[in-house]
Symmetry: C2
Subunit: 281 residues, 2 copies
């Protein structure tokens, strides 16, 4: 059995460990997570190990990115299982701060990113990217990694964080990692744990609908018509669609002409569980 990674909870211990990695001449990659790790997270950690000599995984269920009515309390937490999984991949350090370490008394600062955060998730979770940008900005300044790994599963988040790192001169290269899927196409997500057996069978419809829309667009269908069809396909199976959209793949702006690179993105509720997915055209 592999040795468990060292776990630190304080910024100063994180910095001290990272300084040690630097002193040995290593590049450092950070994998920010909220724990409840699955194979998708392992793919982030493995990519981190390919890029950098030392890999740090942060585990922090960030209250600032949940609205009061959302699933912060029931969000899955499994530190011991997480550590065992990270040991298998050979992660060097786990940073698992408390909420008080991250947001001490008197904390009053917020980072907001416009541009790629406009629309899509923001229309349904208006607090979300402010919470993400603030905690990611802090993780970047606390750890000061060379690379930070973000999954394409949360594609809008990936673009927001890329913008943030560039705009605030944080010197961190945000590295996208492709989405990992179950055999039936369902994108891996910690929230899949909420699905019952019946819901689990229906859930792959989002990916199936996006895949079909992409094929239609490649065959010449207007993007809006294709995503409308996809939305209908998802709704037909009983999901409540928040959005199915075709956007500019880099800026996430609404499409202006036919030559732009396109990303299809969707969010829908399956019972009490909100699922998101996206694919390139």
């Amino acid at each position: 059995m592999a040795t468990l990674p060292k776990v630190v909870g304080r910024v100063r211990d994180l910095r001290s460990a990272v300084a040690g990695f630097r002193a040995e001449g290593s590049k450092v990659a950070l994998v920010p997570t909220m724990g409840a790790l699955h194979v998708g997270h392992m793919a982030l950690a493995e990519r981190a190990r390919e890029l950098a000599g030392r890999t740090v995984v942060s585990i922090f269920v960030n209250p600032a990115q949940f609205a009061p009515h959302e699933d912060f309390d029931k969000y899955p937490r499994a530190l011991e299982a997480d550590l065992n999984k990270l040991a298998e991949v050979g992660v060097d350090l786990v940073y698992a701060p408390t909420a008080t370490e991250m947001y001490p008394a008197g904390f009053a600062t917020r980072i907001t990113v416009g541009g790629p955060s406009e629309g899509l998730e923001t229309d349904f979770r208006p607090h979300f990217f402010g919470g993400v940008a603030t905690v990611v900005g802090k993780l970047f300044t606390q750890c000061a990694p060379d690379y930070a790994m973000f999954g394409e599963k949360d594609y809008q988040q990936l673009k927001v964080v890329t913008r943030l790192s560039k705009d605030l001169d944080l010197g961190v290269e945000v590295v996208p990692v492709p989405t990992i899927r179950e055999e039936d196409g369902l994108a891996l997500s910690s929230r899949n744990a909420y699905l019952d057996e019946e819901q689990r069978k229906v859930a792959p419809v989002i990916y199936a609908a996006l895949t079909r829309a992409a094929e239609q667009i490649r065959a010449g269908t207007e993007p809006q018509a294709a995503v409308d069809t996809a939305s209908g396909m998802i709704s037909a199976l009983g999901l409540k669609v928040d959005y199915v959209a075709a956007r500019h793949a880099e800026t996430l702006a609404p499409l202006k002409d036919a030559k732009e690179p396109i990303r299809l993105l969707a969010a829908a509720w399956l019972g009490q569980t909100r699922l998101i997915d996206n694919i390139p055209v």
Copy 2:
């Protein structure tokens, strides 16, 4: 005549120069300015030289902290004179980026600080601290100094920047430097250059009124009564008062009890020129 400091305009050249300072084992102090340097700025630079082996002065008239109707266009600019003054103090490096270097195309990120930014200046310049926090956050991540010098003249800004550096784990110690005054008490400010001869004679009333209010409070007068008197004294000379306030000296919150440390702060218009000042009780 002293040698002029080296001037860089690009982030990468700034970082390269600072890396050189670090390699020689020096601590680095940053003095953020908008140029039009006066003796008050020189005091910041001198304090920086006492604290750190290497001193960097940034000169950037930050459009993000001016509202459209404010004095961005007429704000005094005098780079050559500034460099000569900095040479006298022995500053090592001047960082004078363009607006495009600071805010490239697509820039979409904003840092906001609550807490100490509430009220006072924010009531009259609601855009101001968002602009300050964003540019100071960037200057801190671009330069990564050990110390950053801020004048007590802009007391609320000092507290906002202190909060920002702590909240975003920027690792920069914000060092307050006392206000420098003319013999008649007028706080030095680049905007004093806007005053005509008559206005210049009247301008010290703000400091005089604050000083008298502090004496009254120390003698037992209720703080609110004392600042009301001060406000009347300033108005009587024809200035338009934005605020005269007694606040908690650290948090800048409204006073709750008599034992709190108190700071008196004022802002008033003298013709088209807005002057601010503050003193401890």
